[in-house]
Amino acid sequence: MKLPNLLLFWLSALWPQLLAIPLSSSNYLPQSFLPQIQEQVRKIQNDIEELQQRLCADYSLCHPEELILVGQYLGIPKPLLKNCYSQDLSLVACLNQLHYGLQFYQGLVKALEGISPELAPTLNILQLDVGDFAANIWQQMEDLQVAPEIMPTQGTLPTFSSSFQRRAGAVLIFDYMQGFLDMAYRDLRHLSQS
């Protein structure tokens, strides 16, 4: 099963749980939220696939497992979604983690600017799409009045000292992003089945 489908499945499974949490009458998620998120995820996946294909085709960077050492050197962190995978699912914490992760990846993508003129347009769109996704999550948190008063910062971003590091970092970041959504999907699917 392809990744977008997995993510959609995860979101579908998550949706009843989101509705099941006790929320006040003002805490109401619009019906369009779920299909919006599905669409946004598909868009990000498409962007990432296109960038991965270009990196593979142009720079022979096709397999993230070949860049483990570079990844350790660069120290690119992986946001977690552990709050979305627990028996006592906390929608607020899950949305928080989801927002933080997306915001973090938006910063990572921004850090990749200058990787290649050919990749720049798509990279720019990916940055906007991830930012839209994060903004959408934040908007829903605000509408649910569960958003923190202060938007969390992105944290420390890696620095790329060479073009190779930037390209290798891009391959790793894209792989992490895919994994981020896959992991969330699997966890929440497991949660919905338990």
């Binding site: 109401y28 599905q38 669409e39």
Partner: protein
């Protein structure tokens, strides 16, 4: 103006220009831009330090562009300064120059100007809408600006991030504004400035120097107004393999791919296709491609082997319908051809067969068929095959016919009873139709009749014979008449409803043509004998009438005749004739005759009068007149002339006879010439030969005429045939044929003195035979006392030489003087000089004459008349 004044003015102006004219003149406007039509005030003041101008100026005047303004709109200052105020009650110019002029020597000199602008404040832009273009990555909004303001107007697209809960009531942060270019009523916000999945409050604001206005606000998710790129539509390739999915006949297998920029968008698409030769499109809605990048669809229900034009468009949609968007444009057209299937068709079949003259063991078969589609979609048929039945053992019988026509002729052995007919195309053959050549053993229809609903169709109805089973179908054939048996090719129809009592023939029916329509009932296992009828769908009036001819004419009547023309195609038979005649006083008369009439007698005409006669021939559609015939009645009829001639003839004969008798009575010699006295040799002697007049010598004129009649070789009897009573107004053909001829001549030939060649010559010899009708005989019956030889059975004397015998010479003896001669003998004595050589007849009665004695023995009656 005098030249001195110009010089002074020039000096002053030069001085003032050197000083700066603008410093001397001060123009003020109440407003530089005003509402079009509103009033505006202006003032023009000449500074007091410009004393030289005030010294030479007498008055300030105003001009709007080139037009001098009325003086009553302005007033001069009365405070000692040279100035003027003016109020324009309504400014109707959108742009004008207001000039302040100083009147010098009668000429206004412009010393200052102010620019005036007038227009309207902007109206609220209408039809405000936005479209998100994922390819261009921008949100483009457009609007209608309203009426022209005549002033520079700026349109600014404004938007704010908003919360989704309160329908954009609370704004979060502004989005970069977009100012439209001049003349363009649209503006685009780049995607980088937009959150695609957050609600924005967006509107357009119009501004000019007179005011501003806003369009209605839109509270939208930018992605909800996305207009997708059209999908890429193409034919799905057939997969090979056991479960291969070649498109079914009449189906098209389609697939489409989302445009690259909208692959992530769940879409709903719709398809439209065009039937060949039609401009309208058939829509196939609600094709959901889901989240996949591509979709497939089998479009069925199409015509077989037909080329279609297809297009597709898509719109953003989710299963729940929560997501919105605009329809994409239609994709580029795709042309595909449906597959063909083998024909599924019912064939109505009819046939004719005829035993060959040269080879009686073979039959000529002519087979006709018509494809009757069993479904709405008709299959394409490329041709037809006719096979003999039963097929050969190897099942490879060559077809009797392989044709694209709807008929076929072939030969079969006389014992063959059936053939097999199929239709085919590239996909295969249709189910076979067995054609059995039934014999005509069933009951035929009781009657058939026709009517014409219009000029291009004929209704043929029939009645079943009572007590007979209903036919299962009927075959109706029609063709142009005249048609021989078996020539009625081409037009036929099968009525499959056995209980029907008629059908409409609407193929190849043209007006004014006579059709022969044949109906044959078909039973189970047999067929009935065909019956036919002739009919027109529309008829014409006759094109010409027969020409009238005058046959006879009398004093008060005229008989006309005509010959009808040959029947003409497309024209119904003549139903009646009407004869019209008018006299010189223009009095008209007419008589109606039936169609079989060929002549007509006009009665009641005036003698010696002229009449104009014409004939009108009529059929069921119309009539036409013949040419005029002018007739003139006569004064006397032929009958009258004949009677007159007969009377004149009789009178002439009587007159002649009387003259002759008188003449004979006066001349005895002539009497002896005709009636000589024949002496009796037995009772006479020369001494007794005294000519005497015997009582038996009374000779009638009729006998005289017989003797004087020359030998007759030919008798011509002119006899008018019996005139029947004139025909009445309605006559039949037979009656008209029996109309009398003018004259009939009967000619009897042969010498009455020659023996009859007939074997029964021993009977009475007939000198002549009068053949006539009774009327003639009544009119010419001879007098009762007249003896006719034809009525006599007395044998004739063989030797009738006119020459007298010697003993007859006594007849020529002179009578003794003083003897009394009957005056009626007409032989006057003194008139004959030859009487001296003729002997007198012996005295004594006639029976004493031996020959006359013999005659008396044979027939006393005949003698009595002598």
């Amino acid at each position: 103006m005098r030249p001195g004044a110009w010089n002074l003015l020039g000096t002053v102006l030069l001085f003032q220009f050197c000083k700066g004219l603008q410093d001397c003149v001060d123009i003020h406007l109440s407003a530089s831009v005003i509402h079009l039509g509103a009033p505006i005030s202006a003032s023009c003041t000449i500074n007091t330090n410009c004393s030289s101008l005030t010294a030479i100026a007498t008055k300030i005047v105003w001009k709007l562009d080139w037009e001098k303004l009325p003086e009553h709109w302005q007033h001069q200052r009365e405070d000692g300064t040279l100035g003027s105020n003016i109020t324009l009650p309504h400014l109707n110019h959108t742009h004008a120059m207001l000039s302040c002029c100083l009147l010098l020597a009668g000429t206004p000199q412009i010393i200052g100007q102010a620019e005036l602008q007038a227009g309207y404040p902007p109206q609220s832009p209408s039809n405000f809408s936005c479209i998100m273009n994922l390819t261009a990555q921008e949100l483009t909004c457009q609007w209608k600006p309203g009426r022209s303001t005549y002033l520079p107007t700026k349109f600014i697209l404004k938007s704010y991030n908003s919360t989704s809960k309160d329908n954009c009531q609370s704004r979060k942060k502004p989005i970069q504004h977009c100012v439209s270019e001049d003349g363009k009523n649209q503006c685009s916000i780049p995607r980088s400035q937009l959150p695609l999945y957050q609600k924005i409050d967006i509107w357009v604001k119009a501004e000019n120097m007179l005011g501003e206005a806003e369009s209605p606000h839109l509270c939208i998710y930018p992605m909800d107004v996305v207009k997708l790129e059209p999908p890429i539509l193409q034919a799905a390739e057939a997969r090979l393999g056991p479960d291969s999915s070649f498109p079914q006949p009449g189906c098209l297998k389609l697939k489409w791919e989302k445009a690259k920029s909208s692959k992530h968008v769940e879409q709903m698409c719709e398809l439209q296709y065009q039937h060949p030769g039609e401009l309208s499109w058939v829509l196939v809605p609600f094709l959901n491609s889901g989240p996949q990048h591509a979709g497939e669809y089998d479009l069925c229900g199409l015509l077989f082997a037909t080329r279609y034009v297809l297009q597709m468009r898509c719109v953003r949609s989710s299963l729940g319908g929560q997501l919105g968007g605009h329809w994409s444009d239609w994709s580029s057209s795709l042309e595909l051809t449906t597959r063909e299937r083998r024909p599924i068709v019912r064939l109505d079949v009819w046939w004719r067969r005829r035993v060959r003259k040269l080879d009686p063991t073979m039959m000529d078969i002519q087979l006709f068929w018509k494809p009757m589609p069993t479904e709405e979609n008709s299959d394409r048929i490329q041709g037809y095959l006719v096979f003999p039945s039963p097929p050969r053992q190897d099942r490879e019988s060559p077809p009797l016919c392989n044709t694209t026509q709807l008929s076929c002729a072939f030969q079969l052995p006389e014992r063959a009873q059936e053939v097999i007919l199929t239709a085919y195309n590239t996909a295969g053959e249709s189910p076979s139709t067995t054609v059995i050549f039934w014999e005509c053993q069933g009951a035929s229809l009781s009657s058939i009749h026709t009517s014409a609903p219009d000029a291009h169709s004929l209704w043929v109805g029939w009645e079943h014979p009572l007590g007979q089973p209903l036919p299962r179908a009927y075959v109706i054939e029609w063709c142009l008449a005249p048609a021989q048996e078996g020539d009625c090719n081409g037009n036929w129809k099968m009525e499959s409803n056995g209980s029907s009592t008629g059908t409409l023939l609407d193929e190849n029916i043209v007006p004014f043509q006579l059709y022969k329509i044949t109906v044959s009932p078909l039973y189970h296992g047999t067929r009935g004998r065909p019956q036919h009828v002739y009919a027109y769908s529309q008829e014409k009036a006759p094109s010409h009438a027969p020409k009238l001819k005058l046959k006879h004419i009398g004093r008060t009547w005229a008989e006309l005749q005509w010959e009808p023309g040959a029947p003409e195609l497309g024209k119904s038979p003549i139903t009646q004739y009407t004869v019209f005649w008018t006299n010189t006083q223009d009095e008209g008369f007419s008589i109606i005759l039936n169609a079989s009439s060929r002549s007509c007698i006009l009665r009641g005409l005036a003698p010696t009068s002229m009449y104009h006669v014409h004939l009108m021939a009529s059929n069921q559609v119309g009539s036409i007149n013949s040419t005029d015939l002018t007739v003139m009645t006569i004064a006397l009829e032929e009958k009258d002339i004949n009677v007159l001639l007969i009377l004149i003839g009789l009178f002439s004969v009587m007159f002649f006879c009387i003259i002759t008798l008188i003449f004979l009575h006066k001349n005895h010699k002539m009497k002896n010439q005709f009636w000589p006295n024949v002496p009796d040799p037995a009772h006479s002697s020369l001494g007794q030969w005294t000519p005497t007049i015997l009582p038996g010598e009374t000779i009638h004129l009729s006998s005289l005429r017989d003797l004087a009649m020359p030998p007759v070789s030919k008798i011509i009897v002119l006899k008018e045939e019996e005139k029947k009573s004139p025909p009445q107004t309605m006559e039949t053909d037979e009656e008209s044929k029996n109309l009398p001829h003018l004259v009939q001549a009967y000619i009897l030939q042969g010498d009455p003195f020659l023996p009859e060649p007939h074997p029964s010559s021993s009977g009475p010899i007939q000198y002549g035979k009068v053949m006539g009708n009774q009327g003639y005989q009544r009119q010419h019956r001879p007098p009762s006392g007249l003896y006719l030889r034809t009525d006599s059975t007395q044998p004739l004397l063989v030797d009738l030489t006119p020459s007298p015998k010697p003993y007859e010479n006594m007849w020529f003896q002179r009578s003794p003087p003083g003897s009394k001669v009957p005056s009626f003998q007409g032989f006057p004595e003194e008139d004959s000089d030859d009487s001296a050589f003729l002997p007198h007849c012996p005295q004594g009665p006639l029976p004493d004459f031996p020959l006359l004695q013999g005659l008396r023995i044979e027939g006393i009656e005949g003698l009595g008349s002598i």
